[in-house]
């Protein structure tokens, strides 16, 4: 399951025991076929991913607008950073690197990604450990935790915004009844709690995915290790820290990285749950707002490009770390 290993793994290919000439003829035929098989997929990806990405980057260096895509003029780095010196000698900075709104979105994105992934990892590990134990009704529990995962994000956002409603929401009612709060909270509307609301919904929806990935890692740990630990009288909690965690770490790391990259690009949940809150506006939401709603197409492109760069950097870091650290880990 670790992508880095899959590429390193040696793959069974063709017959290896044939006479040399036959083999090379066969190999050539197979290579030709492989080429033809790959072309449609590669062309599709180039049209739908490669070209649009290049165009987005290009637009970020122009002054394009929604209504004037083709007449756009080259603007250099103006969308990123620009300065004008006034007669008085004062320098005015502009461009997204000098834009507090942009930095607010960056901060929101990072805050959301780190907090949600941390919570999901902890809760996911708990759920995975529960599912790894043998008990009656385990299948039922696994079915139940798949439900949040199967519900479309937009739907779960609306379901929760009803539950978190300040006047008629069941969460406020429940918390008041339990004595956790003494007045009704406008979870999604108030700036203090908007991020908490987003985190609750995201954690609810994505913990199952995390739990299943961690569970897959847990199930690869041989049972006799636990037996040995039990015979030696090791305390279960110590067994968890010293045996389970180190052995499940490769699977855990892959899950964390995937979720982190995914959380960095979050859009739909925030767009639907807290549409107007500056406390939760992430890079994706901000960039789309500029691209489509505010008719600052070039500026939005620059923000999109920046997000791409951030995620690309994280991916490269992951692949690089993956080669060094996860070899022969979990497969």
């Amino acid at each position: 399951m670790a992508p880095t290993q899959s590429t390193i793994q040696i793959v069974p290919t063709g017959p290896g025991r044939h006479p040399k000439r036959v083999k090379s003829e066969l190999m050539r035929q197979r290579l030709r076929a492989a080429g033809w098989f790959l072309v449609p997929m590669l062309v599709a990806l180039a049209i739908v991913a490669g070209w649009p990405l290049l165009r987005t980057i290009y637009f970020s260096f122009t002054n394009a607008s929604l209504t004037n895509l083709y007449g756009a003029e080259w603007a250099g780095f103006k969308n990123y950073l620009n300065w004008t010196v006034l007669k008085s000698g004062r320098v005015i900075w502009s461009g997204l690197l000098a834009d507090p709104v942009w930095w607010n979105a960056v901060w929101n994105t990072i805050r959301f990604a780190v907090l949600s992934v941390t919570l999901e990892t902890i809760l996911g590990t708990v759920v995975a450990l529960v599912l790894n134990a043998e008990f009656k009704g385990r299948g039922l529990v696994r079915a139940a935790i798949l439900i949040p995962w199967a519900i479309p994000t937009v739907v779960s956002a609306r379901m929760w915004s009803w539950m978190l409603n300040d006047q008629f929401g069941i969460i406020n009612d429940l918390f008041m009844m339990l004595g956790l709060i003494d007045h009704k909270i406008a979870w999604t509307a108030s700036g203090d709690t908007a991020m908490i609301a987003v985190l609750i919904v995201d954690v609810w929806k994505t913990t199952p995915f995390m739990a299943l990935l961690i569970l897959a890692g847990l199930q690869m740990i041989p049972r006799d290790i636990y037996e040995a630990a039990a015979i030696d009288g090791v305390h279960p909690i110590k067994t968890f820290w010293r045996v389970t965690l180190p052995l499940v770490r490769p699977a855990l790391m892959v899950a964390v990285i995937f979720r982190l990259l995914d959380a960095m690009r979050i859009f739909d949940l925030i767009y639907v749950l807290t549409p107007n809150s500056s406390q939760t506006k992430t890079i994706s939401v901000l960039a789309r707002e500029n691209l489509i709603d505010f008719d600052k197409f070039a500026y939005g492109s620059a923000q999109s490009t920046m997000l791409f760069l951030i995620i690309a950097l994280m991916t490269i870091l992951y692949i690089w770390l993956g080669k060094v650290r996860f070899d022969g880990g979990d497969r």
């Binding site: 290049l54 492109s301 995620i311």
Partner: protein, 276 residues
């Protein structure tokens, strides 16, 4: 003795909490969807009302039925297209060794990590240039960006694990790579195709950003966009009953599918290591 008893009890308590938290929001959405009028604003934990008003209203007014059809059309077409392109590509990536294969697999994985917003501007231009704006084809076209890498990746993982002997036997019998794929591997691949197809279907069914951006009229929207934009007469009057009814209609098919194919989905998710 007492200690074991407490341990078992707390374990089952934890299990109960997990199940309750997972299921409750969906249960509450169903409960709300059956309430109408002022009953909607009375907080109840157990079902008290049963009225189909919200469902009738959602299905007869507005374009929800049309949106549902759009979603089915888009998601099905995307799955067929992605599987068709991915099966042959996966054969090449899994069974033939050639230079640069590792790099190619890496690139495909990288594409699946693309933030969708990064291609939005470029895709917007393409969609308009091809005259696809505000049609389902815009979505079928653009959804390839996340369904294709995912299907290629999972099918490659699966095909790599098929035994070499089968392929050798076919080669000895003079089968070409195309025949090996269609006649030898395909019958073995059905479980994997179903799993991958299902995961791609769910991803396409749930997609929001492209659907929101590339459609502009209520008839061409897909279900997630329709639900997100469902509003009442004024900005402050949110039709919660109808929203919940629509949400239930959209989610029930998915939940049923997921519960039927539970085991397969778990396998597919862990094999792909990619969010479905």
């Amino acid at each position: 003795m007492l200690w074991t008893y407490t341990k078992t009890t707390s374990f089952y308590l934890l299990v109960a909490v997990i199940v309750l938290v997972s299921v409750f929001p969906f249960y509450y959405a169903i409960l709300t969807s059956f309430k109408s009028g002022t009953a909607l604003f009375e907080i109840t934990y157990l079902p008290t009302h049963f009225s189909l008003d919200n469902y009738i209203s959602v299905l007869t007014t507005g374009s929800f039925v049309r949106n549902f059809g759009n979603s089915i059309l888009v998601a099905t077409s995307v799955v067929v297209l992605a599987l068709f392109l991915a099966v042959t590509a996966a054969f090449a990536l899994a069974r033939v060794s050639f230079r640069g294969r590792g790099l190619l697999l890496m690139t495909i994985l990288a594409v699946s990590m693309f933030p969708q917003i990064a291609v939005l501007a470029g895709l917007f231009e393409l969609v308009r240039a091809f005259g696809l704006f505000n049609t389902p084809f815009a979505l079928i076209f653009s959804y390839t960006i996340f369904t294709l890498p995912f299907t290629v990746w999972v099918l490659t993982t699966f095909m790599r694990d098929l035994p070499v002997e089968i392929e050798e036997a076919a080669i000895v019998d003079g089968a070409s790579p195309w025949v090996i794929i269609t006649k030898v591997f395909m019958p073995l691949m059905w479980p994997a195709l179903v799993t991958t197809g299902l995961l791609a279907f769910i991803a396409a069914w749930n997609e929001f950003l492209f659907a929101l951006t590339f459609t502009s009229s209520s008839e061409t929207r897909t279900v997630p966009v329709a639900i997100a934009l469902l509003s009442g007469a004024s900005q402050y009057e949110i039709p919660w009953g109808r929203i919940m009814a629509a949400s239930v209609i959209v989610t029930v098919p998915l939940v049923v599918l997921v519960l039927i194919f539970q085991r397969k989905i778990v396998q597919g998710l862990t094999a792909g290591g990619v969010k479905g």
